[in-house]
Symmetry: C2
Subunit: 252 residues, 2 copies
């Protein structure tokens, strides 16, 4: 992991771009966790991994806003680019699946399962090990420690990560993308506390599939928080409720 | 409206039992809103009507806990007994419907629509005018003013009240009781902000019917907050989120 740039934001948050191999990422740490080595040591802060649908440059303003809110509550946040997105090499299988998806939607046909598999599973299969490698590197930094939360989409990445990564202690999952059948089955193995956000009128989302997925999660504590509006219309109060959920579970 | 007893609780909340005609009720006011007339006047506080399934004596501890929480945030709370419940005269139609319901459930049969109608509509038709009369009396008291929130079950009473009573500015509705078809239609006319609580594993509740009802509400701002557990298992954090929703909408 190599830091490539850093800036101190006006609220004292330290924003650092990094690369992990050839994967770009961003780390936001609250002022307390990013003092120079000479300053008195503060307690290490928990870490939130910010999921997103890919395209870090485009997503960055929204992710930064969430990270700064979390920093004000004493959490570090980090994200990495998804496989095949932003400046990373395209994934031909996913590109083909995206074209097939567009064709099905334009024809008003149901989206075949195999298209969903080809669209999402490569992101999960390649992305999850990358998130875990990022976690190794991030938790090795001074001032950052577990527990770790995952917050965002792609929901299938969040599901797989919650199943395979024991350091993830709680997750906020954004319903609203296609979910392969194999991920649906993995959802039954999730046991960490979950807070699932669902945009009730999400144009690109199958509401019933999202409800079925919520039902499938094995977690004893899970909450579904459905709000009005389209895919990007999560109301501020719902974002705050999600932040409160993470704070409740990540504070020792 | 006649106060029949009062006690000052250890957090300064004034708890007063009252009767409105022959309907018993309870009013909780924060210390600030229940000073003697000689004290300097504070600003009047908003009012939350606490709905419940009937049987005020049994429900009282839970209602009092919610009222005291709301008082700490500067709200008065009040409730009245439902028609046919507690010490009030039985409603033969409802008693008969309850017996029919029990018979259907024991036989594992679907509950006929007409049983739901006979079970719930008398409570709505008689109860809603009583809640409105209570509102008239409560808002005439010194120290209490609008806006008014409704919070609780029977959800059908909350729906009708939200439609016919313009002083209700926001409502927390507890899914988990049978909803007559006519109320389902009235739900489309509801326009106030709604926060709907759904216990995902509620034994006595049809989850799909609750989701359909949520979908039907005409409100532009509505949130569904589903949590694990049975009918009475609303987790504390979900209760707090509901209180925050009301505070957001009732504070001028």
């Amino acid at each position: 992991m190599r830091f490539t740039s850093e800036q101190r934001l006006d609220d004292g948050v330290l924003e650092r771009d990094f690369t992990l191999g050839d994967i770009p990422g961003v780390l936001w740490t609250p002022a307390s966790a990013s003092e120079p080595a000479s300053a008195p040591k503060s307690a290490p802060v928990p870490l939130i991994l910010l999921g997103h649908p890919g395209g870090l440059d485009r997503m960055r303003p929204r992710l930064a806003a969430r990270a700064r809110h979390s920093a004000s509550e004493g959490f570090a946040s980090a994200t990495i680019e998804l496989p095949g997105s932003g400046g990373r090499p395209r994934l031909p299988v996913v590109e083909q699946a995206r074209a097939d998806l567009r064709r099905a939607l334009e024809a008003g046909e149901p989206v075949p399962d195999d298209v969903v598999d080809r669209l999402v599973l490569p992101l999960v299969d390649e992305g999850v090990p990358e998130w875990r490698a990022a976690l190794d590197a991030l938790l090795a930094l001074p001032g950052i420690d577990g527990p770790v939360g995952y917050s965002g989409g792609v929901i299938s990445i969040g599901v797989r990560l919650a199943v395979v990564e024991p350091r993830v202690a709680a997750a906020v999952l954004f319903a609203g993308s296609y979910v392969p059948r194999v991920i649906f089955e993995e959802a039954r193995q999730v046991t960490v506390p979950l807070h699932v956000l669902l945009q009730w009128d999400d144009e690109g989302n199958d509401r019933q599939a999202a409800l079925d997925l919520f039902d499938a999660f094995g977690s004893k504590e899970k909450a579904l928080n459905a709000n009005m509006g389209g895919h990007t219309g999560v109301p501020p109060h719902a974002g705050e409720a999600a932040a409160r959920f993470l704070a409740r579970h990540l504070r020792a």
